[in-house]
Symmetry: C2
Subunit: 217 residues, 2 copies
DNA sequence: TGACAATGTTACCGATCCGTAACATTTACT
DNA sequence: AGTAAATGTTACGGATCGGTAACATTGTCA
């Protein structure tokens, strides 16, 4: 009833769509296979005939999300050919959309993060994906002329992850809605400032802080 | 066995400590009352005699975390009296510590965010706390001379939330370990730049992006 | 010591959830 | 039409979990 609004393809696809939707909304541990089967307008038996277990279903959902992320990335590259700065700006905007738009595979990726300290095979899969995306983004930032690309990507990663979390808990009134201007500002800052200046400023602030802390143990 | 390492006070305190510890590690829905009682070196019956239900226990844990957060804030204010900039810098460092240190009540607060779309009484409690903390931080930023204090607090909120999430999933090798320099840089940026310049730069970037998008529909 | 409160132990109930078995029904293809 | 595969339905098993009942044990204080 929730998912599978389009013209209802085979049950396998309906189940995957419903599962991804419900995993996003309730978390992986927060939804049962019965509810997934019902939302897919199917039943538990066909679900288990296509996917041997709930864990397998989770893994397939993650693979689909990864494929969409791949398309997401390729679309950025082809839409702004040979223009790293435009690609980076495009990435920020699309990431902002992915945060607020309901149908967002990012939420699925971080839902996998709920499987902490379990031997779930999806864990390694998601971590490898994350590393790949960050590596790509670092390269893009470098091409766009960012000196400390790693730190910028770290900042963007934290912002995206925080925005997803904030959106889910605080909704459209939370700070997540200001993700795009914030990310834009940080990107602009990294591009307009020389690395030396940034490092100097950071070192100075760090030194001040250390002194402060030592003065008040 | 996990918690209650200190000299084992009354069962009520041991249970609260164990519950907070396990809620952080496994999430609220990821741990059962039996495991909590065992970790507290107690049993389920005394747990239910002190706390009528698991939800009540969750609520008490959140109240304790809120009390610690209150002390955290007061400590910042008293350690750096009449020095908003130092207070803000101190906040950044302490927030960074809270992310990486195991015993961190922040993780408990966002664990409550796992109770999405449920009528859990802890939801409203946590949301009110979040609003209070953000309001205080906005005031502090304004005292420190930040023009667009709301946007800075939004950025810091997303960074903190993202760093907590990232730390839990990526651990000490993730981007969360770079929270402090990133936050410092953003704070410095907000303090050193006039608002008009920032807005101008954002508007320009926004306009560029819109043109780009329109050119490639 | 005695009495009462706090705590511990065991067993159980009902609900939920993952997964399976057996059988009925529909769909697809020749 | 007819056959086989895919799908749907019902019921069940085993495990876990929140919560309770009954009884045993320990601690506390007069």
């Amino acid at each position: 009833m929730t998912a599978a609004v389009k013209c209802a393809p085979r049950p396998r696809e309906r189940i995957i769509d419903a599962a991804r939707d419900l995993f996003r909304k309730h978390g992986i541990k927060g939804i049962g296979v019965d509810a997934i089967a019902e939302a897919a307008e199917s039943n538990k038996m066909t679900l288990y005939r296509h996917f041997g277990s709930k864990d397998d279903l989770v893994f397939v959902c993650l693979q689909e999300a990864a494929a969409e992320a791949e398309a997401f990335w390729n679309d950025i590259k082809t839409t702004n050919p040979d223009d790293p700065k435009a690609q980076l700006s495009d990435w920020v905007h699309r990431a902002g959309d992915f945060i607020t738009i309901e149908h967002c595979n990012c939420e699925l990726l971080d839902a996998a993060a709920q499987l902490v300290e379990s031997d779930h095979p999806a864990r390694r899969f998601v971590e490898e994906l994350r590393a790949l995306y960050m590596k790509r983004l670092v390269e893009l930032c470098r091409e766009a002329g960012v000196a400390d690309a790693e730190l910028l990507v770290d900042a963007l990663s934290l912002l995206v992850e925080g925005a997803r979390c904030n959106w889910r808990s605080a909704g459209p009134k939370g700070a997540a809605t200001r993700f795009v201007p914030i990310a834009q500002m940080i990107v602009a800052d990294f591009m307009h400032h020389a690395t030396s200046k940034i490092v100097d400023r950071l070192d100075k602030a760090e030194a001040e802080s250390v002194v402060k802390k030592a003065a008040h143990p």
